[in-house]
């Protein structure tokens, strides 16, 4: 879901930057109100924790590997606002220092993964709480990844409709929803199982906010 610069049109990333800025502002205020003096260390350390969770790779056949996003673990442990800010900061550092994901696509990725994925994790945790904590946490991990993939796919698939040149070629990302949604959702449905398993394993040791 690390979309490089150049695939999203300004009709997408400029409004997304506005929405993300508003969401970052609200999240920062909520975190500051809740954590007061600990806000700054909490954000810095949580961001580093999120970076570390993204380094936890599970090997796949043929030498490939997938990594956790940690969004469900963070959202269930630290709350949606803190996890959204931490994931946004990590995505920004990855884009600026490693070129992994673009700066212009950062607002979309942060909203999809940090806010959409985190909110889906918290909502699923609540919805499935009757099935027991492990099933609810597994569902939260799977739903977080699928929601982020779905939102990213919707934004990418919108690009061909936003502009075409005189010859009819797309100006930015070339594939519509019929191509991009299955291409993103099918692999992420499998990745979500791993994310769900890691969420269960991590929160089994830690407990989540609902246990506190």
């Amino acid at each position: 879901m690390h979309v490089p610069d150049g695939f999203l049109g300004p009709q997408t990333w400029l409004p997304a930057a506005g929405v993300a800025a508003a969401a970052w502002s609200v999240a920062a205020r909520r975190v500051r109100r809740r954590l007061r003096a600990e806000t700054i260390p909490a954000l810095g350390v949580t961001a580093a924790c999120c970076f570390g969770l993204m380094l936890v790779a599970i090997p796949l056949p043929a030498g490939a590997s997938v990594h956790a996003t940690g969004v469900a673990v963070l959202a269930l442990r630290f709350g949606l606002s803190a996890s959204f800010l931490a994931i946004s900061l990590v995505l920004a550092l990855q884009a600026l220092l490693l070129g992994d994901g673009g700066v212009t696509s950062l607002p979309v990725t942060a909203l999809a993964l940090g806010l959409g994925g985190g909110a889906a994790a918290v909502a699923t945790r609540r919805l499935l709480s009757g099935l027991g904590p492990r099933a609810a946490r597994f569902g939260a991990g799977w739903t977080a990844v699928m929601t982020a993939a779905l939102l990213t796919g919707l934004v990418l698939g919108l690009q061909p409709q936003l502009g075409r040149d005189a010859a009819g070629a797309p100006l930015y990302f070339p594939f519509g929803w019929r191509t991009v949604l299955p291409a993103l959702l099918l692999p992420h449905a499998v990745l979500g199982l791993i994310e769900g398993a890691i969420t269960v394993a991590a929160l089994d040791r830690l407990g989540d906010r609902s246990d506190a």
Binding site: P4, R36, E38, P41
Partner: protein, 187 residues
């Protein structure tokens, strides 16, 4: 050139690359970015190409293949996309070489310290993840299976989150002892 001027120039390049669609103009913009990177231009271009290779390569190859099957001309789109991606990513790489982000944000009351703590912690976290992975491999007589990797991933994730919760207290105390937060409004 000051950091603010570099940032303004960066924003200008990103906006221009987003709105320009002619390959020769995008090529000129890329050349300008590389000129601005100076002696580090080859390194900037190589890093930008490597960082975007996987996503861009897959999308471009797929689109070119599909368009050729349909009898269309995908080359102008492919050239424009490659130039745009390289220009924007090279601009980001050049910016981070020219501008010290921590120094730039040093006077921001929240963002500066957050960035400093995060970057300092990230080094330690990377080492921890690498060490736990090595520990798993060195203690496994045969190659670990997927279940072992998932359990190990969960344990590493749990350790990272526990460590984060502990570090928050330590860093907060360290910052408070150095005078941070003392003038903060309690309300």
């Amino acid at each position: 050139m000051s950091a603010r001027l570099w940032l303004t120039a960066y924003a200008g390049v990103v906006l221009a690359a987003s709105f320009l669609h002619r390959a020769e103009l995008l090529a000129a913009l890329l050349a300008t970015v590389l000129l601005a990177a100076g002696r580090r231009a080859p390194k900037v271009l190589k890093r930008a190409a490597l960082a975007t290779l996987l996503f861009t390569g897959v999308v471009v190859l797929l689109h070119v293949t599909l368009e050729l099957q349909r009898g269309g001309d995908p080359w102008s789109w492919a050239l424009r996309t490659l130039l745009r991606v390289l220009t924007m990513t090279s601009a980001t790489m050049a910016l981070t070489l020219r501008v010290d982000l921590i120094r730039l944000l040093a006077h921001r009351p929240v963002l500066g310290p957050v960035l400093l703590i995060a970057m300092a912690q990230i080094g330690a976290v990377r080492r921890l993840v690498r060490d736990t992975r090595r520990a798993l491999l060195s203690r496994s007589p045969t190659a670990p299976g997927p279940r072992t990797y998932v359990r190990h991933g969960g344990a590493t994730g749990g350790a990272l989150v526990r460590r984060a919760a502990r570090e928050m207290t330590v860093v907060t105390r360290a910052m408070t002892s150095r005078g941070a937060f003392l003038d903060a409004d309690p309300h």
